[in-house]
Symmetry: C2
Subunit: 415 residues, 2 copies
């Protein structure tokens, strides 16, 4: 079993070789990996079976067990995801905005791989393959550290991937798994500034906090979503009911689901009873302030804490505000900076909301559920960043790249 | 005197107001600051005088004292820098690549301020004004923490700036100085994830290492430069002599100066004696490997450590290699990832060097001394990033901005 430093050194060497790989070679290897996953599915399922038995023994919930389970059909879906990544445009090598300076130097930016990326995640084995495909396509070497719950699935998956890479004569150490899930090792990984260029934690709030707290390597935080729908005074009522239902209920456990309603007082008496009745018909609880409670008896009292809570359940908070200013202030105070939407017919309100709400994705008259790399047209997603550095919002292939300046001269010296 | 948390809270409030300021208001305020610096120069010089006296008492070197000194003329130069920033295009509010999705959503990226930026630097008071101007222009609120050596200069400068901002009715807390230079406070600043969006250390290697080690807030590392010139087998000899002289000697103490020569063996016997004689005529020492020593008796022995050293002095290391591969490997091993140049007439060598050398700026047939925001045409520079996240190479105004997705809908819900 390799120590972290050894994995990092191998990754660094592999990353240099990865940077030299052409698009055709990378795509061929990805397709070979997809085929191998299908061919070797029984070995993968064997590994997954051990994890499932351990899950039973540890009393894991049915919901979590369902996320952990691999079947032949699910493996086919995972392989199809790899084929889709192979089909995407390769961003590496693109030259951005080459310009000529007065002294004759031509200066542009070349899109290059990030280098070595560490991905730290929890118990979904599909993340293993998915992360490999996206980082490989962008010419990076990746160190994967999945949860102990799915270690046998991950071992089997990474073995199949590395075998396929080896058969294609591309660097096998472009993907490595931390086989020992001891927590001290993951902390060690987070400190390897000389070898790791970027860490991406993918998982719940606790995991992300731990990475952010302990990392010395740059991190892209993929955040939680306490998303807001603000119903402005001029909102279309019919649209408002539909968008709130979609944003809150279409899928409960996702980061782009709405967790809080903010309603302008001038429309609250019309809008809130309609929305409350619609949500209540799906057994969704509404926790609101006193004004909201006075308008609808379907609203139960909210505590201060409710406004800051990502429920991921059939609960939504509600707040009545007397102005757009108050709405923006409330949102910027309680939001996690993920996705917020204004429902309005008013031009100036829409523009101000877009400009002043400080979140990764800001919508007018649409459900927050669209915050997603596929919905945005990226063809892939490695996560949704809620930080402002490097990448903000859904991250596709570009988020896994860097740039360098390339400068063409013909003997220039600085005067 | 304010505690760090209080400064951070004020900055957060100011940053929201800064985000709403129009370009005209920002430029007017910058010009007012420039005027105020000129008008109040005697107060500033009075503050600087205390720092200069302390510098004498502490036995500061003449070189450092020169960097610390403010005169009426130097203040005029600093004010002129502020006017130049006012004249630059405002990047805030620009919408990048708005595209329509099949479902009718129009999705684009709006360029927005980063928010609250902490700048940690050493003893050059001009950095105070310069950092303010660039961060203010981009709509950010800034917390400045300069060195104790120039605290009285900084207090005077920030007082003048804040007075001018107040007169213009723009948020004075868009610029705040940490008045207590106790080291514990700077560490506290680096931990304020809830309030500070970005830290930029500007200074020597020790300062940058300390920020990177201690920060919990995202950092852009502005790095040191162990820059290489690689003289390929087909280099133009005359050009090579001139570029090496320029890159090594035009200014010694800068991060884009060349610190190491790498020479292809097929040209070494011609090139090295010419270059060595030229450098020796300026009393520049060459420390080389055995092959280089065998070619020119001006070359003294280099230790392993020499290849990793940023001399910032009249010394350069030299290494003879037998191939482009060996050159690239040597550079990627010892470089700090700042700037490297290949001198060659060969198309394939040039292209491979540009692609495979893993540095922020990679040149063909030009001096590394051009790595600079002004030389690159940005009109300003906040530093030179040697990290791969967010900004790499010279950083102008854009490096101080983030983006957010803005999405225009007309009632879309996710199917």
């Amino acid at each position: 079993m390799s120590g972290i430093l050894e994995l990092c050194k191998k990754a660094k060497v592999a990353s240099a070789a990865m940077g030299r790989l052409g698009t055709t070679e990378k795509n061929k290897a990805l397709l070979a990996v997809a085929d191998a996953l299908m061919e070797e599915h029984s070995d993968i399922i064997k590994g997954n079976h051990i994890d499932m038995e351990n899950a039973d023994a540890n009393g894991m919930s049915d919901a979590l067990k369902d996320r952990l389970l691999l079947t032949e059909e699910r493996i086919a879906g995972i392989a199809e995801g790899v084929r889709q990544v192979a089909a995407l445009d390769d961003p590496i090598g693109e030259i951005l905005s080459m310009k000529k300076r007065p002294n004759g130097l031509a200066i542009g930016q070349m899109r290059v791989p990030m280098g070595v990326i560490g991905i730290i995640y929890e118990s979904r084995p599909n993340v293993t393959v998915d992360s490999f495909a996206l980082t490989f396509k962008t010419g990076n070497a990746t160190i994967l550290r999945g949860g102990s719950d799915c270690i046998h699935s991950n071992l089997a998956l990474v073995k199949v991937i590395r075998k396929a890479l080896s058969d294609c004569n591309v660097p096998v150490d472009s993907v490595q798994l931390v086989e020992n899930t001891d927590r001290a090792l993951v902390t060690e990984l987070m400190q390897q500034r000389d070898y790791v260029d970027l860490l991406i934690p993918r998982g719940g709030a606790g995991l992300i906090r731990s990475v952010v707290e302990n990392a010395k390597v740059p991190v892209i935080e993929t955040g939680t979503g306490n998303c807001h729908i603000y119903i402005d005074a001029t909102a279309d009522l019919d649209q408002a009911v539909k968008i709130v239902r979609n944003a809150k209920l279409q899928r409960l456990g996702v980061c782009n689901a709405a967790e809080s309603l903010v309603i302008h007082k001038d429309i609250a008496e019309q809008a809130l009873p309609l929305i409350a009745a619609d949500l209540a018909s799906e057994n969704c609880e509404i926790r609101g302030d006193e004004k909201a409670q006075a308008i609808s008896n379907l609203v139960v009292p909210a505590s201060e804490e409710d406004y800051g809570t990502e429920y991921l359940a059939k609960i939504i908070s509600a707040k009545i505000v007397s102005s757009l200013d108050e709405a923006i202030e409330h949102i910027n105070r309680y939001s996690t900076g993920h996705s917020e939407s204004i429902l309005t017919k008013d031009y100036a309100s829409a523009q101000r909301f877009l400009r002043e709400v400080d979140s990764a994705c800001v919508y007018v008259n649409a459900s927050t559920r669209f915050t997603d790399g596929f919905e945005f047209g990226f063809g892939a997603e490695i996560g949704i960043s809620t930080q402002k550095l490097h990448a903000r919002g859904p991250m596709g292939l570009l988020a896994l790249t860097s740039t360098k300046y390339v400068i063409y001269g013909d003997g220039q010296i600085r005067p």
